[in-house]
């Protein structure tokens, strides 16, 4: 069985490092990026099954990542994480496009459960 691929984008290195370590242990293929620009460049080269992105980043932010991903790879699942919990309105608007939304700190277990749901690993629904 091929590994599912996950892209993590966060301008704080620790987030990508921890997510990678934890997700790789569960058998995912993980690539991490510190900014939206380089992540989008990578997406030109290859698709990912899941993109986990921070919302607020300098330069290309999470919303731009989301729009580009949805345009180029409509099947890719996008999960948004952010330190700012008061963006309910924006999130509501994005509801159709974003698979899930987590305020930081994100419990790894919940993030993994969300990824599994997205990939239909939990029995599919």
């Amino acid at each position: 069985m091929t590994k599912h691929s996950i892209m993590i984008i966060d301008d704080e290195k620790i987030v990508g490092d921890m997510a990678r370590l934890s997700l790789e242990q569960d058998g995912y293929e993980v690539e991490t990026f510190l900014d939206g620009r380089s992540a989008l460049d990578r997406l030109e080269v290859r698709p990912f099954d899941v993109v986990v992105t921070d919302l607020k980043m300098k330069g290309v932010d999470g919303l731009q990542v989301l729009r580009t991903v949805k345009k180029r790879h409509p099947k890719t699942v996008v999960i948004m994480i952010t330190a700012f919990a008061n963006l309910d309105v924006a999130i509501e608007a994005l509801r159709d496009d974003v698979h899930d939304f987590f305020p930081k700190p994100v419990k790894l277990k919940e993030l993994k459960a969300s990824i599994e749901r997205a990939l239909g690993k939990d029995g599919g629904h």
Binding site: I14, D17, M18, A83, P105, V106
Partner: protein, 864 residues
């Protein structure tokens, strides 16, 4: 935060002093409000600390914004505590604001990712912090961690930093020659470089630093001490071990000049052809490596050697101890036929096998000329160089180091002539893993799925994790000293007194306890799997039984009988890898300034404002002193009652079926009908702790008719005192309760027995406490001590921590639910009444034991 902190507090202090200028005590209601504010702010602080412990524990994705904002909330809360505490105590402890300012500086430095100030050339181990691994090198860093965090016996030492190396290179103009090494250098060029280092001069500021640091060591160790000067070039995580690549100079006299000479020898060894080739092999440019050096006091070793905490990848449960007489060089170099002790780690260390070596030669100190290899005296050849007890003591320390660094360790140790053990070095041990090490295999015979379950889903998980060990059921607080390292401590109550053993335990399980207690935060700090509130853990788990504890999310707890190797393996791998993330370690390090608890026992001298080092210490100190301050103020009110309350207003007599009179002052919420006057019945008392206490005192059977007769005189005098009081006559300190809805401070005198009980009993467990003091008299000394002994044994059953001295008994318990506090107050009330009648019958130690047993069984008759 930063500057302005102290200034802010100072201005509070000043205005306080002015407002308190005349020494007039603030009114009790105001003081009580400050007391509650201290508790509230302390609670808020503990909540933030708990949250940070959880979020920074490895189960959450977090970033610096989280860590920063959490710290800011904490800072605000603890500042509030300090402000109110100053108002409560009349600014008796101005040092607390200074402690907070110091903590704040360290935390801000961590956030700014700035190194310590000034690029110090020499750093004593006590001052080595998380961010100095690069400057002081791996050896120093690890040893300092073991001394500072694990409190293991590490010889007095200091680090010579990479900044010192830079200064040396600059001072001697060696920079260009070093840069040239990258391009390649023949043996002749290297020899020239080594000669230049050895002939070089130590820069004056480094020489001064050596003089100062060496003088401090000499002061501690005496003039005959000698030092070992060794390289500390290892990478922090032991990826490049450089084991044995560089020179170590042993037996260096304790003078600045001698250390300077040895320092040059160690630095020069960086340019030995073998060492240079090794550096190239590892992919580092030989000219780029900056060497830090460790200066460690030599242990006058009777025996020394090496420990591997695992025998191999396939034998993770086996620990090996190599040992020989004298200094350890012979063992490290493999030059002597050393003793080999094989120790099984599971369930506390056990000696599995020993092979005694011939040890024909040994290495000894040879005075001024360094060390020498000599023939082992005939009487010591073929004789074990360690006793079994020493092997096990070393094994326990090694296991603690392995647990702390979460990886197998290679440890050098020594035992001195008095049998004291020392850790000289610890570094990561590279282990070849067997194929089955890579993943958990549920089909193996010792997998969890095959083991019987002793306890499932009881309790609250304080710290998650999987661990195994032998159960130690703690029956008495005194047994704490006997808890073996690596044990799973199972106790009825949690206690801050466990702090001293926590770093060495594999897990803690308690029947009763709170996830926000002092103990809980220490367990999180040390990542010791901990479960509280199991209700019946002490009943379900057998003493000395080997078990595996799995404490998971959503309070999923399982205790298996036996060792579940599959679970343990999985756990080791995850924990190790998270710690490898540098940024993770950096941010988690902020907890060092926040969570550890150094102030444990309020009865010790160390329990002082200037001994506070962390936010947790501040909380603990303020809590304890707030209670004391409140007790003192309530006592003052008792004495000066008329003055404070302006007559009889607010003072009510309790109409109770008790052979004593009690008067109560209400600070707010203590009575159902508010600030009324006149008599109050039990039904009119709203104070939760007072009700509980009185209910105990009114329990059927605890007062005896025969004793009531004996007490006639007391009774009368008690009544007359009360009458005097309410009538505005003589002030008295007896039979007086200061209360609020959730507070009581009650002083009771029966004849020569003086009882003082202070309790806060609310819906927030960590605010709650009972402080009980008993002074007895008027009986023969043996009878008195029997009485104290009986009370102590009964109170201990309720979880009180007890101190007795002659006639005095002081008991405290805290951090329990409202229900538990009420239950214990009821029991204490019964005991207060019961004790009154004892003196005449406590004629032997057997009677003490019998009466205590009977009391606990609800039988209050003093004669069988």
């Amino acid at each position: 935060m930063g500057q302005g902190v102290l200034a802010g507090f100072r201005s509070i202090s000043n205005s306080l002093r002015q407002s308190l200028g005349g020494g007039a005590p603030a009114d009790p209601k105001t003081l009580f409000a400050h007391f509650r504010a201290v508790l509230d702010h302390n609670n808020r602080s503990l909540e933030v600390i708990t949250d940070m412990g959880e979020k920074l524990g490895g189960d959450y994705l977090f970033d610096i914004n989280y860590t920063r904002s959490a710290y800011e909330s904490l800072y605000e809360a603890i500042s509030g505590s300090i402000r109110n505490f100053a108002l409560l105590t009349g600014d008796r402890y101005p040092q607390l604001a200074e402690v907070l300012a110091r903590i704040d500086t360290l935390v801000e430095r961590m956030f700014a990712a700035a190194g310590p100030e000034g690029g110090a050339l020499v750093v004593p181990y006590a001052e080595i912090t998380w961010d100095m691994a690069e400057e002081v090198g791996g050896k120093n860093y690890h040893l300092a961690e073991m001394a500072n965090a694990l409190h293991l016996p590490v010889p007095p030492s200091f680090a010579v930093t990479t900044a010192a190396f830079d200064a040396f290179v600059r001072h001697n103009g060696l920079g260009e020659r070093l840069a040239g090494l990258a391009a390649g250098a023949d043996d002749g060029a290297l020899a020239g470089l080594r000669a230049a280092v050895l002939a070089g001069a130590v820069p004056p500021e480094l020489a001064e630093s050596f003089d100062r640091a060496v003088a401090a060591l000499r002061h501690r160790l005496g003039p005959d001490a000698t030092l070992a000067v060794r390289s500390s070039a290892e990478e922090e995580d032991g990826d490049f071990s450089f084991a044995g690549q560089f020179e170590s100079v042993l037996n260096v006299p304790c003078t600045g000049a001698a250390v300077a000479e040895a320092y040059k020898q160690v630095v020069a060894s960086l340019y030995e052809p073998g060492a240079v080739a090794y550096q190239r092999h590892l992919g580092c440019d030989p000219g780029r490596l900056r060497m830090a050096v460790a200066v460690v006091a030599m242990v006058p070793a009777r025996s020394s050697g090496v420990i591997y905490t695992v025998a191999s990848g396939t034998e993770p449960d086996t620990l090996l101890v190599n040992a020989a007489w004298g200094l350890g060089t012979a063992v490290v170099d493999g030059r002597t036929d050393a003793d080999l002790f094989t120790v099984a780690k599971s369930g506390g260390p056990r000696l599995a096998a020993s092979r005694v070596g011939g040890k024909e030669t040994m290495v000894v100190n040879d005075g001024a000329s360094g060390i020498a290899t000599v023939a082992t005296p005939a009487g010591q050849r073929g004789v074990p160089s360690l006793s079994e007890a020493e092997v096990l003591a070393l094994a326990r320390q090694a296991m603690a180091i392995e647990t702390y660094f979460k990886a197998p360790q290679d440890i050098e140790w020594a035992v001195d002539r008095d049998g004291r053990t020392f850790i000289l070095q610890a570094r990561g041990l590279r282990v070849e893993h067997g194929p089955e090490e890579s993943a958990a295999d549920a089909s193996e015979p010792l997998a969890a799925s095959h083991l019987p379950v002793l306890l499932a889903d009881h309790g609250t998980v304080v710290q998650k994790g999987v661990t195994a060990g032998k159960v130690f059921v703690l029956k008495h607080a005194d047994d704490l000293d006997r808890v073996p390292r690596g044990a799973i401590l199972v106790a009825r109550h949690d206690s801050p007194h466990f702090v001293r053993v926590i770093p060495f335990l594999n897990a803690i399980i308690t029947d009763v306890g709170a996830p926000t207690s002092h103990m809980a935060s220490i367990c999180r700090e040390f990542s010791i799997p901990t479960v509280v509130n199991t209700g019946d853990g002490t009943a379900l788990l057998g003493h000395d039984e080997e078990v595996t504890l799995m404490a998971g999310d959503e309070n999923r707890v399982t205790v298996y009988a036996g060792i579940a190797h599959d679970l343990l393996r999985e756990q080791r791998q995850t924990a190790r890898r998270m710690r490898e993330i540098y940024e993770f370690r950096r941010q988690k390090y902020v907890m060092r300034y926040i969570a550890p608890l150094n102030l444990v026992n309020p009865l010790e001298e160390e329990f002082a404002a200037d001994k506070c080092k962390t936010v947790h210490d501040l909380i603990r100190f303020m809590h304890e002193k707030s209670v004391q301050s409140l007790v003192a103020s309530a006592t003052r009110q008792g004495r000066g009652i008329m003055g404070v309350f302006g007559g009889r207003k607010g003072l009510r007599r309790l109409a109770l079926p008790l052979p004593i009179q009690v008067l109560a002052i209400d600070l707010g919420g203590g009575f159902v009908d508010g600030p009324a006057s006149g008599e109050a019945t039990l039904a009119e008392i709203a104070s939760v702790p007072l009700r509980a206490l009185l209910q105990g005192m009114m329990h059927p059977g605890v007062w005896h008719e025969e004793n009531l007769a004996l007490q006639g005189r007391d009774l009368l005098s008690g009544m007359s005192r009360a009458a005097d009081l309410t009538g505005g006559g003589a002030a008295a300190g007896a039979n007086l309760a200061v209360i609020s809805g959730d507070y009581v401070n009650m002083s009771m005198r029966f004849g020569y027995h003086f009882n003082m009980l202070d309790s806060y009993c609310s819906d927030t467990p960590r605010n709650n406490h009972i402080y009980f003091r008993f002074v007895g008299g008027a009986a023969a000394i043996t009878s008195r001590s029997r009485r104290i002994q009986m009370m102590a044994s009964i109170l201990a059953e309720s979880g009180f921590i007890i101190k007795t001295k002659g006639d005095l008994l002081v008991a405290r318990v805290s951090n329990l639910s409202r229900e538990d506090i009420e239950r214990i107050l009821d029991q204490t009330g019964r005991l207060i009444a019961f004790t009154r009648q004892l003196d005449a019958v406590l004629d032997s130690d057997e009677t003490v034991a019998r009466l205590a047993r009977a009391f606990l069984a609800g039988d209050y008759r003093v004669r069988p």
